[in-house]
Amino acid sequence: MPGDLLLIPFLAGVLITILLALAGAGLFLRGSVWQALALGQWAAVGGVFASILHWPVLPVALLLGGGVMALLQRSRERERLPLAVFLAGLAAVTLLAANFAQASLAAAAWAEGQLYFAGPGELQAAVGLALLTVLMIPVLRRIWLHAQIAPDVAAASTPVLWQRLGEIVWLVAAIVLGSMVLGLPAALATLLLPAWGAAWLARNLTGLLLWTQGIAMVGFLTAWAISLPLDQPFAPVLVLVNVVLALGARIAAMLR
């Protein structure tokens, strides 16, 4: 690693990869991958909007991402509505970028990712969310397992409201922070692809979580090792590496 200059981006990237991979496993189990697209895109709208008004990016992105998640949670429509919301977000970013110079720069940053420029603020946010995640893992596992039961009904007690809300807030925070630092395409690739690849290899829920982390971490480290010496943007390299790893996992599962 070329000196300490990239230590903070590297650590922030590692932590965010762990968080996004865990969130991806949860979204996979919930069958909510389309929601991730919509949420991430509207976090980007929030970030671009904040840049125009010179407001702090993270709170605005969280607010819009959270609003979209709240809307999608109220609907039983799992595919078309999230896709429509995603497209509306894409249109909003494009229109903002076309009309405001500042927005154009911000939109490019959300698309390409800013990992090499991540600073202490991003690292602190990632550490804070990682610590919260350690506390929340038992709740997250319970909610994701409970989401599998329907249409059967268990006599055991269901997760309470604060646990369900806590999971949603955590998902929003992970996706927004991940999109802000890695860029939207790279964050979505880390969310969706390692969990999908791991789902073919794992024997159970614990296996799914561990395989997802393993694939995501190999993807991050490989993309880091390729993009820096070859002077390539990190986000597209990470997307391609994750595609290869997920397909590799699928083929490995077919061969065994």
């Binding site: 059967d152 009904v153 829920l205 296996g207």
Partner: protein
């Protein structure tokens, strides 16, 4: 407390049940605590709808429909689609259902397997065992187990296991089963109650 000393586990009086609009009713019946009922009737009679109304998945549009407030209710739905891939094991399924694992060797043999790699019959047996044992460790609670066509998908290999599991449910637990499989119901020695007898009651 013996089951006969308890109030009915379900009371319905002139109840109309449905989803967006009423589909069946008026329905009047009382199911005693500890009963072993098989609810029969042709397809579309409303048997599954009644079970869903008990769990709160269907709506009550009028009349009285009152499951016992303290009842712990579990339901085996008629079908449970399995996504592909589905990286969960039998142990995960029992944890999801809050169920204790039974001593039954046929069920224990499935616990380490992935759910999406079980045969249709094995999957049905595993779900049945989990529903029967959901919250079973709390002996103080009043339990109502609803089984909607539990004989569906059961091949010869697991059919006798399913009958054996249902027969070992504790006597204080109430069982309400729908099925078109007369041989299955006879093997379980249940009271047969045609749903039509409780509809349009005054």
């Amino acid at each position: 407390m013996p089951p006969e000393a308890l109030p009915p586990i379900l009371s319905a009086r002139s109840a109309r049940l449905g989803f967006d609009r009423p589909v069946i009713g008026p329905l009047t019946l009382e199911i005693p605590a500890g009963a072993r009922w098989a609810l029969t009737g042709p397809n579309g009679a409303g048997k599954s709808l009644l079970l869903k109304a008990i769990t709160g998945q269907a709506r009550v549009h009028g009349g009285l429909f009152q499951p016992a407030p303290a009842a712990r209710i579990s339901l085996l739905a008629q079908d449970h689609h399995r996504p592909q891939p589905w990286p969960l094991s039998g142990h995960d399924w029992f944890r999801a259902m809050g169920a204790t694992t039974p001593a039954h060797a046929g069920v224990r043999a499935l616990l380490d397997r992935r759910l999406d790699r079980l045969s249709g019959g094995q999957w049905q047996l595993l779900r049945l065992a989990a529903v029967l044992n959901s919250h079973a460790d709390d002996a103080s609670s009043q339990r109502l187990i609803l089984l909607d066509e539990p004989a569906n998908h059961l091949d010869a290999e697991v059919r006798s296991d399913a009958i054996e599991l249902i027969k070992t449910v504790p006597t204080q637990t109430t069982l309400l089963i729908t099925s078109h499989d007369d041989a299955f119901l006879r093997a379980l020695e249940l009271e047969i109650h045609p749903l039509a007898e409780y509809l349009d009651a005054r």
